[in-house]
Amino acid sequence: MTASAAARPAATASSARTGPRFAVVGNPENRRVSLFTEAVRAAGLPAPRVVAWADVLRARGADFGADEFVRVDSPGENPEVDRLLRGATDPTRVEGSARWYTGFTAALRTLRGGIPLADPDDLAALFDKRACHAVLDSAGVPVPDSPTSGPHGARVHGWDDVRALMREHRMPRLFVKPAHGSSASGVLAVETAGGGRIRATTSVETGPDGALHNSLRVRRYHDERDVARIVDALAPDGLHLERWVPKASQAGRAADLRVVVVAGRATHAVVRTSRGPLTNLHLGGSRGDLDGVRRAVTAAGARWSDVLDVCERAASCFPRTLCVGVDLLPAMDWRRSFVGEVNAFGDLLPRLTGLPGSGAEGLDTYGAQVAAVLRAPAGSGPRHPYRTGTAHA
């Protein structure tokens, strides 16, 4: 999916006459696609051409005009696409994420032509938590310790390996994450203490046939055999382990931030709070108070601009991708933060408008991306080498 150099002058000429054209690869029925379509139209441009993931996968590719800006959106929440990508017949099934990853990254490389707004190599790293962790770590972005980081990290074949790594790295409390999962799918927050005490918090439940399913209910497992059964079933898809850094709290609930970074700039942020270790909104997390977080950060002697800076540094590790959603974990004292995840499709925050001083005030995450493309020199693509010294309100 690279625009040939020869195509670019044509794009410039065309843009000058009609304004840029957008295409979006997504699931047409999904609200992500409609929200992006609305944003493009709101910018006074013709609606983007919608290219269905199902068609891309069946036809083994799709072609884009040299002047088309190509947005790649999530292939999720569509049973047929899910089946094509990972062979799953039941969308709640947790297993199959390795196959999904292979299928998805291969499909990205069948998108031909156009001006890509997300880079296949970036996406390949973003959808492998072990690779993503290593990229962030080597760039000096603060991340929780991990024994499975990068190509030289430990590989986990089952619960026994997890136990061994916990001992070796003195990690009695950690997150076990499928390497290619998203939205807390298959994630376990594991706590252990002496005397064999264990607790795992997860949305995974085991079906009667032993298959793993995601549910909307967070469960607690206290029997190591149950935890081992789940982890053993997840391990063939690849697992990433990370130290559980105690998070700061707001109004008595553990808090983290989702910060959307567009073209290098942190534009949107929400606080997510939860009574448990998983803050995802579909698992009972709720929106917190962003002004309260800013006050807490300041009161702790840290700077809000540094918080956003961490997110922008994380995004700058993926310079050929226009937009990412950074999950930022503020440490208990609010003075430090760690990047928990960087999400390629982390912009689904409907109706949320941009941060003051971000340049995206009044725009939602989709509008901010359209505006960023319009701002950029025609044909330049989404490159946004990270610059230091950006001032934040």
Binding site: R170, P172, R173, E191, A193, G194, R197, R199, R220, R243, W244, P246, K247, A248, S249, A251, G252, R253, A254, R275, G276, P277, G301, M332, D333
Partner: protein, 319 residues
């Protein structure tokens, strides 16, 4: 519910966290103006607790320190704060103004309440005869030997399971100044092995002449506690009775209403309950009309019913 927030105050003084290693300590508040929060980390501490304490003693005039909040210590899920208690006992002469101590101000993200290891708190109380306020979080390993303490006005034990030895130890203590007693009894799953009968020395009030605020809460046997309270001599001297956070059902509430009058109370706290609307209304009719502030908020008290009809009810803070 879980413990989600650190104490923001103790003894009427706002909590102030003593800066971590490397952070400047040249602009600290007046020693007697805050409750000093001394904190290490449960995991991967930058500094051992003893070193934090040493830095604190060097940076702050402890002669004027009135309140101490002990936050996290290393491996709190496996290790009792024995060293902390020993250090505080050993340093007693350096803290002549100390009036309030809370040990174990850890939140869920650091260590769930029932995972916090505690120890025998009695030596600390004996070492500080002028202490007016003592609180502790975490029931695992917690011990309390019967004692006499002439100054203690407020005693708090927040646990997911309070060992019977602690209940009996407090019951057998002479606490002539105690005004406020708050015990989270918890569940047998997490070591709360007392029975309602073990509360009798407290409920008699014989050794608690100044008690005004009694909380026996967060109990799986909240009904039995309510029934025992219904006939307890201590109740007539109370201003606040708190039976919240537990598994309180109609049985316990009806028993409470059938006992001695409660209309002299300023407040009855029954939040987090499993009461029917009919019984809740009876409580309102009886007490609110008499001017008692009653908290009947169901909060997050949710029942789970299994297919076979088994109903599960939970205390507010367990694990």
């Amino acid at each position: 519910m879980t413990i989600g927030e650190h104490l923001d105050a103790l003894h009427g003084l706002p909590s102030f966290t003593f800066p971590g290693p490397g952070a400047p300590t040249d602009r600290l508040p007046e020693p007697d103006s805050v409750a000093w929060r001394l904190n290490s980390d449960v995991y991967d501490a930058d500094e051992a607790w003893a070193d934090t304490f040493a830095r604190f003693r060097a940076a702050v005039d402890t002669n004027r320190v009135r309140a101490l909040i002990i936050g996290a210590w290393g491996d709190a899920y496996d290790s009792a704060p024995t060293e902390i208690f020993e250090a505080l006992v050993e340093a007693r002469d350096a803290f002549p103004a100390l009036r309030a101590v809370f040990v174990g101000d850890l939140v869920m993200e650091e260590c769930e309440i029932s995972w916090i290891h505690q120890t025998d708190v009695t030596p600390l109380l004996n070492a500080y005869p002028a202490l007016e306020e003592f609180g502790v979080r975490g029931g695992t390993g917690l011990e309390f030997t019967a004692l006499r303490h002439g100054a203690l006005r407020r005693l708090v034990a927040e646990t997911g399971g309070l060992p019977v030895g602690v209940v009996r130890g407090i019951g057998a203590s002479d606490l002539p100044a105690l005004e406020h007693l708050d015990l989270w009894l918890g569940t047998p799953d997490y070591g709360g092995d007392s029975e309602a009968a073990d509360l009798e020395p407290i409920l008699s009030g014989a050794r608690l002449p100044r008690l005004r605020h009694l909380a026996l809460r967060n109990s799986e046997m909240q009904d039995a506690v309510a029934a025992a309270v219904a006939a307890a001599p201590v109740v007539e001297r109370l201003e606040v009775l708190d039976l919240s956070m537990g598994v309180l059902t109609d049985d316990g509430a009806v028993a409470l209403l059938s006992g001695q009058p409660l209309t002299h109370l300023k407040k009855l706290d029954l939040h987090h309950n499993y009461l029917s609307e009919a019984v809740a209304e009876r409580i309102r009719q009886t007490l609110v009309a008499a001017g008692v502030e009653v908290d009947l908020d169901r909060d997050d008290a949710d029942e789970d019913t299994e297919d076979d009809g088994t109903v599960w009810r939970y205390v507010a803070v367990g694990e």
